[in-house]
Every structure is written in C-alpha cells, then in structure tokens.
Symmetry: C2
C-alpha cells in the first residue's frame, strides 16, 4: 500500500473512540501511518489490537495532521495543547458542536497560550457518522461512506486546512461540505438535534398508554419514534453542547404548539368555534408539507423523480430474492425499498421505489411473472 | 364464488370513497352482493365501473348490513337515517372518530327519532387503512390486509353486531380489536393524531433553513418527518373531529417542551447551570426510550428478538436479488429490511433484520460468498 501524495502522513489521532477509530481504519487502508493517543491506555491498546494504528512514540516522526477526536467539553483544550506540541502540524477536531470549540481556541490566542501562527493551523471538522453507538469496538472503516463531512474553517485559518480535510473526506468516501462554525451548529440543530427532541417527545406520550391502544400502532408511529431509542447519556451531552443553537428553534416550535393547544381546546369545547382554530391546524400541516419538501434525497424533495410500485411478497425465505432477481432481469434498478408487514401475517408488502417512468414496465412485467402488484 | 354463511348479504355501502370502495372490493371477492349509494351519482358510477358493486335499487333485496363510510361530520346523521330506512339491518359506520358519532346516535334515541330497538342494531367500526390518500380511485381489495379493524360496541347494542363485524374483519384479512368509543378515540389520539401533529411540527422548523444545512439531513430526519407529507384538508377534519381526546395529550407534551426550553436556556446561557437542566433533557430521552419500547411489532418492543446484519450492496440492477437469493439458500428468513444509500454513491447498506440467533450464521455464510458484511 502506498500513501496518496495529497494525504497528510503520519496522522496523530488523539482520542480513540468510534470516530477516531473509524477514521484511523479508513486512513490506514489508504496507506497513512496512524499514531494513536488516548487518555485511557486500555482503550489505546484495544484500538491497536483492532488495527486502527500504532501507539504514538515520543521519538517517532512528527505528525503532519493531528485529529482531536474527543467530546466537545474536552476538545478545545486538546486542540490548544496539540497546536503547542506539534508546531508544524495542521490540527483539527471532530466534535459535533463547533462554535464553542472555536471560541475557546480564540480565547487561547487572546490570552497568549498560543500565537496567531498557531491559530492559523487550526481547522474544525465534523465527520457525520449517523450512528448513535460509541467506543472503538464499534469502529468501521466504512463509517463515513456517503455521509456528510463538514469542514469548519475560520477567517484566520490557512487555506491548506480546508484542502487537506477535503482530501481526507474524499479518501474515506464521505461528502465534504464547508460551513462556518455558527452555520454548522445551526444546521445540526435543525436537521438532527430538534428532530431528536421532538421524536423523544412523541415517544414520552406513549408511556402511560394501554396495551390495547398500542396494538393500533402503525408505520407512521414507528417512523416518527425510531430515533427516540437513542442513548440518553450521549444525547444530553450533544444537546447541552449545542444549547444556544437549539433553544431558539425549540422555542419557536413550542410557541407554535401553544397555538395548536388553543385550537384543539376551541374545537373540542364549542360546537361552532372560531374559523381561526381550523386555520391553525391546516397551516401546521401545510407548513410541515413545505418543510419535508426541503429535505434532499430519495424520500424528501425528490418525490417527483421516483415512483413506488407495491408488490405482495409471501413471508418465507427466498421470496424477496426471487423478486429482486426478476427486477434485475427486467432491467429496472431499485432506488429504495420499504418492507411493510405485520407479525403473524403470511404476506408483506414491498414498496419498490424506482426511477419515474419505469413503474409501468415493472408493474406489467412483474404481473406477467405471477406477482400480485397493487393498483397504483 | 359462494358467500361464506357467516357473512351478511347483501351489504349496502353508503359513501363510496377509499374505505367504502375498498371494503366493497374485498367483500365482493368473498361473494357478498354489494349495493352502492353515494351523495354524488358520478362517484357511484365510478365505483360501479371499478367493480366495487352495483347501484342500490329501490326495489332490490333489503341489506343485512349497512356500512356508512362517510366522514365523521356526516356519519351520525347517515347512521340514524339507515336505522330508520332498514328496520332489520345491522348498521355500522367507519368514521375514524367514534365517540362523537355515538353521542349523536344516542341523542336521536333520546329525542325519539329512533327507538331503543333501532339503537341496538348500531355498532361502530374503524377499519384502519394506514394510507393517507382518498377517493374510490385509490380503493384496493387488500387495503385492510394485516391492519387493525376496531369494533366499537356500546352497552345497548346487540351481541351479533360485534360477531358480524369480526367475521367481516377476518374475511378481509384485517385484525379485529374491540374497544369502546372513548377508548378508541384516546388510542388513536396517542398512536396516530399526536404523532402527526409533532411530526408536522418538526417539519415546520425546516421551512427557513438554508439549503446547505439541509444537505446534512440524515435518515433520522427523514423517518421523523415522513408522515408530515400528509394532506392538510384531510388532517384538519381528523384533528378537529377528535380534538377532545387529542388536546390533553398535546397539552402534556407542550408542558414538557416548556421544561426543555428552560433547560436549554439555562445550559446555553450560563457556564455552570443547575444540574436540573441536564436531568430534564436526560429524562426526556429516557422516557422516550420507554415509550418506544411499548410499540409492538418488529421495530419497537421486539428489539431483543431480532438482530440486524448490515451488508454493502453495489447500486446496480440484480444485486439485491442476488443477496436475497443467497439468504434463501442459506435458509435465513428476512424479517424486516431497511435500505440506506445516498444519491450518487455506488453502494448502499442493506440492514437485514433476522431472528435473533441467526445473525452469526448469516454473517459468516454471506462473507464466504464474497459479501462485505459490517462488523456487528
């Protein structure tokens, strides 16, 4: 294995958890030498055993890049230390909240702990893993595949910071995106932190519900609450770390919910309430439609570029295989799939998402082959 | 086709929309004669053309069962009329809200419009379709397959009401469940109406977000907001119709969100806030965990009876087919599947849900056959 010339080498990873470990695995596969450091020697040893890299040696080669892969509350101190310890190296961190880290690095320059030249070597990062597990034992070289890798420069940073991280993001199969610290924190508040709070909120309303009522649960409830299974300890740190960006969005949602409560009270209490009550509910749903339409990708936004074909599939081994083999021979590619079935039922419904315009061909060909395809 | 002796015949369906039309298709397939009525002659004609049944004739045979398949705001009047028009028939309605309909039927008895014997022939129903589309054009005989069919008796009803609807539910492949009107309305408020409100609320927070921020969207956001694409007109009627049952649940959620806003303000504003702020966030997430655990089925509740195996799948026709064919030959049945891939990426990750205990066999056999299976 030879290193690509545009990748920094060696790379020092400080903090060998899920993110540091996965980054190490992915970069090592590209031929980069990985030097590991962790507050816990046991964790470092486990990371070495898992093939993430080698233990950093005091007299080893100086790193070209230092990655601080530690939680937001300790990341800034480790970044400042790294800027002092490795005077030639680019230093980055992978904390999921960026503004509080940058502010503390700027403070270190203001109080003279580091110089302006040191500050220039810092660039923030947030490789999004989309996986709420932790520990190096869960590390995978493909963790960042197809995921956003946010690069967070600041006005006093060297341009090579951004270009080096772009090279790394591309190498590990991630999608590089550049945002400033404030923009990053606001973005993850909207697309991740507030949805987590409201999904958990939906789930809390179910704790006292009767079993029989829970039997009426459908796919909508399952989708809405899927992320409500997340780890409380991890999420308290994430929400606390980004509280200034999350609070205004949650407050706005809360204010809107106040209006919904008033509207429901009016509709439930009087036979002929003010027309404003219905309008409040209608605009909640309509604005929600607009919001969903802004989500890029296969489910949101692109609704007119994909069509869904629903096929009944007997619930026994090999049937889905037969279906997909036949799709392959028909020559229609599957863009997305949702499988819907209820325990104890002998059939499920496969929702096949295909490129718009291909649905008629697929439907008629599948029917010719004996499949039950639901009406469009 | 011969009718099963326990099914009523003929059945009069009043209101030929999605529910009435689908019920007609499903019962007709079982040999039941279906007589159709709708306020709109054009809609009735379309239903006949689609094979739902025949137009009701004034001098035709009397129905054994009348199904009022109309929105909640007109259902009660049509039920009262049907009890008077068809003195021997059992009468039911399919409105998605049950208590307000029952109250108005009881009012009709109290003011002498119908007698106590008429009231005894009424039994409520809510066949849950799980599909937010409307119109007979969308009707399908398999609409109720595997879905809950709620039967809603009242203390003065004849027992044959429940047994007849159980026979119908079973015939059309649905899962019959008996709840009283109040219990039904509270149940759907919890498992359907409040999740709809909060999913729409999440989506409304995205309307003003920058495009670049939306690029960081992940699967969690897509899941949480999937039902926020629902039709505003339909949902205003549903929410307004069940406002008394929904309001207390939404109010409780709003009160809890007040606490979350206060906690976020405290955490964002002061470097060392009260410990209560973190506790508020932790108990939100932890109570959400408990709530999700109460959802029956493959995703909620059964988390320890199923295991997930993640396999990389090249994004070209036939590859999923090959995977499932091989699963079939390994002899491991697929219980659920989620396909995760990002536009423009050459591979996707298939999350295969299999019965707990089968994951090691599947992983090793798939690896032997050359598939890339992610670490557990």
């Amino acid at each position: 294995v030879t290193t690509h010339s545009f990748l920094p080498d060696p790379v020092r990873i400080i903090g060998t958890g899920l993110i540091g470990g996965s980054l190490g695995l992915a970069l090592r596969a590209a031929g980069v030498r990985i030097q590991l450091e962790d507050a816990s020697p046991g964790t470092t040893a486990l990371a070495v055993e898992l093939g993430v890299g080698t233990v950093a040696e005091p007299d080893g080669p100086s790193p070209e890049l230092v990655v601080v892969a530690a939680p937001p509350d300790v990341a800034a101190d480790l970044v400042v230390q790294a800027l002092r310890r490795f005077p030639g190296a680019l230093v980055t961190d992978t904390a999921s909240v960026k503004e509080s880290v940058l502010v503390r690095v700027l403070d270190a320059r203001a109080n003279g702990t580091i110089g302006t030249g040191d500050l220039a070597r810092y660039v923030g990062a947030h490789p999004m893993a989309g996986r709420e597990v932790s520990g190096v034992i869960a590390a995978r070289s493909d963790l960042f595949q197809g995921r956003p890798f946010v690069i967070v420069p600041h006005p006093e940073g060297e341009p090579r910071g951004v270009s080096t991280l772009k090279a790394i993001a591309t190498e590990i199969g991630a999608v590089p995106t550049v945002l400033d610290a404030h923009g990053h924190d606001a973005a993850v508040a909207h697309v991740s932190h507030v949805p987590q709070i409201l999904s958990s909120l939906v789930a809390t309303t179910l704790t006292g519900t009767e079993d029989k009522a829970m039997g009426l649960s459908g796919q909508g409830l399952r989708d809405t609450t899927r992320i409500a299974s997340s780890d409380p300890r991890l999420w308290v740190e994430i929400l606390a770390g980004n509280a200034p960006a999350i609070a205004p969005v949650v407050r706005e949602a809360r204010d809107r919910l106040d209006g919904v409560v008033d509207a429901l009270d009016a509709l439930g209490g009087t036979p002929d309430p003010d027309a404003g009550a219905r309008r409040t509910l209608a605009s909640l749903i309509a604005d929600g439609n607009r919001g969903v339409g802004r989500i890029p990708g296969k489910h949101g936004g692109g609704t007119d570029t994909f069509s869904t074909v629903r096929v009944l599939v007997p619930d026994r081994p090999g049937e889905l295989g037969r279906l997909f083999t036949e799709m392959g021979s028909i020559g229609v590619n599957l863009e997305d799939l949702q499988l819907e079935h209820t325990l104890g039922q002998p059939v499920g419904v496969a929702h096949l998402s295909v490129r718009a315009g291909r649905e008629d061909l697929l439907t008629s060909e599948l029917r010719d082959r004996g499949w039950t395809v639901a009406e469009a």
